[in-house]
Each structure stands twice: as structure tokens, then as C-alpha cells.
């Protein structure tokens, strides 16, 4: 029975927690802004001439260490040919780097190349078109509208409000965590966001559908709204938790892949799974019970009014 309480935690405390998270995120964004990848916010590019270098992997490791020590965040590295020369190219998310001469000297010393071999710190502009952010916002609004009206058609206003709230809270909570934990915003983080929203919607629809389908069954006629919702949330919990678990395991395993962009995706994927689980299995059922109770009490009040008349 104690486990059942997870599905109907007091809504007041849940909303206080979510609101606190959002407030913290707003403060972080106002103070520090969002942490962006090169794709979204631009960065800088550093080239090292490795034509004469025998072990390019070792040079890559040394150079990466120097850049990390100088608090530069390397997003990706690659090799390019340029006629008779070969360059190791580092792309970092930092812009307007100040101590470039010191970094060049350190790179030269550590990598065993001349200072002239370091061609550095060209500004890289972002590659995402400005319409993309607008499109993303529009896409989310379209999703909310579709979810609301489809939910209303099938599950009445209570179901529609639950679905819409869950989708909205999932979206905002994810962005809050991205802001607070300074997870880099890239197309990968946005894909994790979409994963979270889709999973949440699927799970809540499964619970609503079960509640809707079982309301008229004899075996549930003595169940209160709370009992019904808890019963079906419990039923949906295990398969959903398995899916979220698999997603989180993927994220954890890929953390071992030595690439910052992939690791960013992994972190965001783990959080997207946790948020989806929280919103669909804790917030969603709690709000649905509340909405059903409010709906029932309004119906009762109307009936009483009619009786008096």
C-alpha cells in the first residue's frame, strides 16, 4: 500500500517542487544563459599542423588535455588535409577566448610542434538557422493542441487537461534541468526532449485508456477515482519503467564513448527517461485523480441544485 502512495502524492507538493525547479532554472538562465553547442551558439576553431607528427593520436590527447586545463570545452576533433599538409582541428564551444597566446605556447610545448604550427582561435558561427528554434516552438505548440483536442475527444476534459499538463510539464522540466545542470543544447538534446515527451504521452494515454475502459465494469464499480487510477498506474508502471530503464542504460553505456557531443546526448537521455517516469507515473496520475474528483463534485453540486429546484 505504501508503494501505491507514490502514484497519488499530494499535488500541492508536486507543483511546489516543479515550480521551484522552474524558478531555479530561470535564475540560472538569467545569470549564465543556456550552455550551447557549436551548432546552436557558435564557438572557436583551433588547428595544429601535424604533417611532421608521427603519432597523431598522442598529439590529440596532449592537445585535448591542454585545452581542458584552460577550461575550453572541446566538442569535436578531426583531421583535414590541405595539399601537402595535414591539420588536427579542434572545435570548442567557447567564444572570445582571452589568453590565446598562452594557450598557443602551451600547445606548442606539450605537443612538440613549433608555435607557427598552431593556427588558432577562428570564430565559428552557429549553423542552426534561426527559423529552427521558432519551428521547434511551433512544433511543441502544435503537439499540445493535438494532444488536448484528441484527449478531449476520447477522455473528456479531465483526460485532456491531464495529457496537456503532463506534456507541458515534461517539456518545461526538461528545459529546466538542461538549464540548471548546464547541459549543452544541441540537436541531440532536443531529440532527448522529444523522446521524453513522446514516452510520457504514451504512458499517460495507456493509463487513461485503461481507466476509461474499466469504469463501467462490475469489478471496478466500488473503486473510487483514486483507487482506479492507482490500480492502472501500477499496472502500466513496470513496462514503462523497463523502457525508461533501457533508455537510461543506453545513456550510461554511451558515456564511455570518448566524444563530448555523444556524452551530452547521454546525460540528456538519462534525464529525459527520469522525467518521463516522474511525469507519467507520479504527476499525471495525481493530477488525474484531482481532476476526476473536481469533475465529480461539480456534477454532484449540479445534481443537488436541480433537486432543490
Amino acid at each position: 500500500m505504501k508503494f501505491n502512495k507514490i502514484f497519488t502524492l499530494p499535488l500541492k507538493y508536486l507543483f511546489i517542487g516543479i515550480a521551484s525547479m522552474l524558478a531555479l532554472a530561470i535564475i540560472f538562465v538569467c545569470c549564465f544563459g543556456f550552455n550551447t553547442s557549436v551548432e546552436f551558439g557558435g564557438g572557436s576553431q583551433i588547428k595544429i599542423d601535424v604533417t611532421e607528427v608521427v603519432d597523431q593520436s598522442a598529439t590529440l590527447k596532449k592537445a585535448s588535455a591542454v585545452l581542458s586545463a584552460n577550461k575550453l570545452s572541446v566538442e569535436n576533433t578531426f583531421v583535414e588535409d590541405n595539399g601537402t599538409q595535414t591539420y588536427l582541428v579542434f572545435r570548442v564551444t567557447d567564444k572570445n577566448i582571452k589568453n590565446t597566446d598562452a594557450i598557443k605556447s602551451e600547445l606548442s610545448a606539450r605537443c612538440g610542434v613549433s608555435a607557427e604550427s598552431i593556427i588558432g582561435f577562428d570564430a565559428v558561427n552557429y549553423t542552426t538557422e534561426s527559423s529552427t528554434v521558432l519551428l521547434f516552438g511551433l512544433g511543441f505548440v502544435a503537439l499540445i493542441v493535438v494532444v488536448f483536442f484528441a484527449g478531449w475527444a476520447r477522455y473528456k476534459l479531465t483526460g485532456a487537461l491531464t495529457l496537456t499538463l503532463a506534456t507541458f510539464v515534461d517539456f518545461m522540466l526538461y528545459l529546466s534541468i538542461v538549464a540548471v545542470l548546464r547541459i549543452r543544447i544541441s540537436s541531440a538534446t532536443l531529440i532527448s526532449l522529444v523522446s521524453s515527451v513522446v514516452l510520457t504521452t504514451m504512458a499517460i494515454v495507456a493509463v487513461l485508456e485503461n481507466v476509461r475502459g474499466s469504469k463501467k465494469l462490475k469489478q471496478y464499480e466500488n473503486y473510487s477515482n483514486k483507487d482506479m487510477v492507482v490500480h492502472f498506474a501500477q499496472k502500466e508502471f513496470l513496462p514503462f519503467a523497463v523502457i525508461c530503464g533501457v533508455v537510461a542504460v543506453f545513456g550510461v553505456l554511451c558515456l564511455f564513448i570518448p566524444n563530448a557531443y555523444v556524452q551530452t546526448f547521454d546525460f540528456s537521455l538519462i534525464f529525459s527517461a527520469i522525467i518521463a517516469l516522474f511525469v507519467s507515473m507520479i504527476l499525471g496520475p495525481a493530477f488525474y485523480v484531482y481532476a476526476l474528483d473536481v469533475g465529480d463534485s461539480r456534477k454532484q453540486a449540479k445534481l443537488n441544485k436541480n433537486k432543490q429546484k
Binding site: A150, S195, E236
Partner: protein, 439 residues
Amino acid sequence: MKPRKRKMTLFLTILMSVVIGLALILTFIPMHIGTLNYLSFAGNLQYANDLKGGMYAQYQFKNGTSAEDIEKTVSEIRSVLSEKGYYSPFVAQVGNGVRIEIGNTTTHDYKGTDKLLDAIDVGLFELRTGTEESKKFIDGREHITDVKLGSSGSQTYVQISFNEEGLVKYKETMNSSVTVYVYMGGNLQTSFAGSSAVYDDMYLTFANYAEAEDFAMKVKLGSFIPVDFNTEETRINTMSSPYSTASLTADVNSGAYGKSNVFVGMTIVMSFLVVLAMALAIVRYRAIGVANLLSMALSTCVAIFLMQALPWIELSISSLFVMLLGFVIMFYGAYAYASNVQSEFHEGKTLTASLESGYKKSLLPNTFVLVAGLVVAVLFAFFGSGAIRTGAIISLIFMLASAFNNLCLLPWFVGIYYGYNNNKPAYYGLKGGNKNEIQ
């Protein structure tokens, strides 16, 4: 759900085995049959440069280029690359220039990619009546509004449209006594005898389609890119994948070129998790788990076939993430089906009734997500560009594959097995419930 006759069940089993076998072979196994080199569907997928390496080009602006012109240049280059089949290029201002990074085609057509990148700094398109600059009568950037390719009979032509000012100059200048000189970037490209301007647009005919296409692309680049590049500082060459820490080579002749340990690592992890989830499903739901394995194998083949057949798809690292999302949705839908069947059985229904009502209960969550996802994906596919559009199309493909899997294939395969066993719920992983199967 009526059990099929044994013969029909056997026939369907053999048929589906052949279909799945063929699908897996065509999807994953490349073959050499005589002179025919079949790459397989998976082998025919096009990759962006971030997964398999490719080519880069760096162009330097001449001094005095405005920010507005730079933005327009980047946008125009993206548009041209998209027309040429490069849907997820890296195009951005780097330092005082523009940098482009694109993947190679599946046939490693480096020369073709090189030619395309070389054409980008072709320079201003001009039409002159003499070799001096003062004889210019058409300036691509000021007078040209559109460039199209067309064919009439066996001839291919390039159609150039002008704005009002350009049209006036074109009509005033063109007559049969004039020789027209075509200049690009200040260099003479060709010349031809003029004729009177009968139409508002200029039509230039070519011997073959390739020449016409090449010329049209250069006229576009020379007219719609508003900046001049310092051609002496242009660099075009090969690069390795930015998502590889092992194959640090841009040498296309090297065996390590184009290999990405990050891509391999992610594919291995994804495959491992898919296999793990399948194994869990088989252990837990037995026949339903096996049916899920078969249906997902077929759905995956269909998804890969569509990805290689549709022209807008260039796999990048973010596409892999979208594919993961697609698999997750597919799995969840299948799990929803199996757990609904289980819960119906727990509530006392027979095996047959549980399979039927479990399927009906899982219909709606799958359909709901499909519809909502389709609306958003179509919106992004239509109005997005580059990696966003590619991601939207891939998610569309996987959503359709997921719906196909969970609404058609999975129940179909369960139905085939039902023909062999319609009275032993334990074989479906169903415990407790009504053990008396009434037919």
C-alpha cells in the same frame, strides 16, 4: 479470434519465414552477382560527413563583406547543396570566410564533390558584349531572379529569368550582330552569337544534361551569392569524421579513412540493448516475445529500405539518436500489447479473449502517438531544413514502422502461432487467470 486451419498456419509460417529471410538478406548482406554489385539497403544509406568523413572547403571573403551578405551567402550555399543531395552539411562563417563540410556519396565520388565545392567560388556571373568590363550588360547579382533547367525534345536548356531592369538591358542588347561573352568571376567562360530576344527569359541550349546542369549551377552561384571570395585562398580537400578518435586520417586511400569508432560504438550499444530488450521480452512473454522479435526484424528492414530509398535522408549522428527514439517507441508499443494481454488474462478472460481485447486496448495508445507524432514530424519535414528535416523524416519513417509493427505485424505473428497453440496460455507467458479455454 478463430484458430486457422493447420495447413493454412503451416503455409503462413513458411511464407513469413521466406519473407523475413529475404528481407534480412536484402537489407544487410551486400552481394556480387556477375557484374552487378549489390550494396544492400543498409549499405546504400547516405551518410553525412560527421559519421564517415568527407570533404571540406574553406573560402575567404574579400574585405568589406557585410554581415547581411555573409548570412545570405551561407543560406544560398545551403540551398544549392540541398539541391545537390547534401541535406546535412556544415556551413558556417569561420573566421573571415565560409567553411563547408559535406559527406561523400556512397560511390565515393570525390571528383563530383570536389567539382561542386570548386564551383561555389566561381564568382560573379556577367554577360558582356566585349571583353572589357565596361561592356557588361547583365550583372547576375543585380539582374537575375531565377535559373532553371529544362528539356525540349532531345535538347537540354538553361532558362535565365531577369528582373525589370535586367529585362530591359537584355532586350536592348541582344540582336544577331552581337557576340555575347559569358564571364564568371572576371574570367571568360564561353562566347556565342547573339540573337534577338524573342522571349523575356534567356534560353541557352547544351549538348547534354550534365553540361547544362553544371552551367545552371554556376550561374546560380554567380548570381545569388552576394559576396566575392579570394580564390587564391580557397582550400578544398578531404577530412576525417569529427566523431572518431581512432581513424585520424583524411587520406581517402587509407583503410582507416571514413571509419568512426564513435559510430561503431553507438551501433554496438544500440544493437546490444535491442537484443537485451528482445531477450527480456522472450523470457517474459515467450511466444509474444518471439513474435515481437520477428515483427521488429521485418519492420526494421522496411524502415531501412525507406531510409535508403527516400532522397532527403543523409544519416548523421543526430539521426542515430532519432532512430533510437524510433526503436524505443516500437518497443513500448509492443510491451503495451503484451502487458494488456497479460492483464486481461489476469482478470479472468480466456486466452482467445485476452489476445483480442489486449490488442484492442493497445490500439489507442499506439494510434494516439502515431497521429500526434505524424502531425509534428510533417510540420518539421515541410518547414525545417538540414539535419532537422532529415530527423523529422526519419522519425516519420520509424513512427510508421512502429505502427505497422504494433498494429499489424505483431498481432499477425501472434495469430499465426495461435494456429498451432490456442489452449496453452503458459506458452504466451500468461500466468494465473482462466485456464479453461472455451472455443
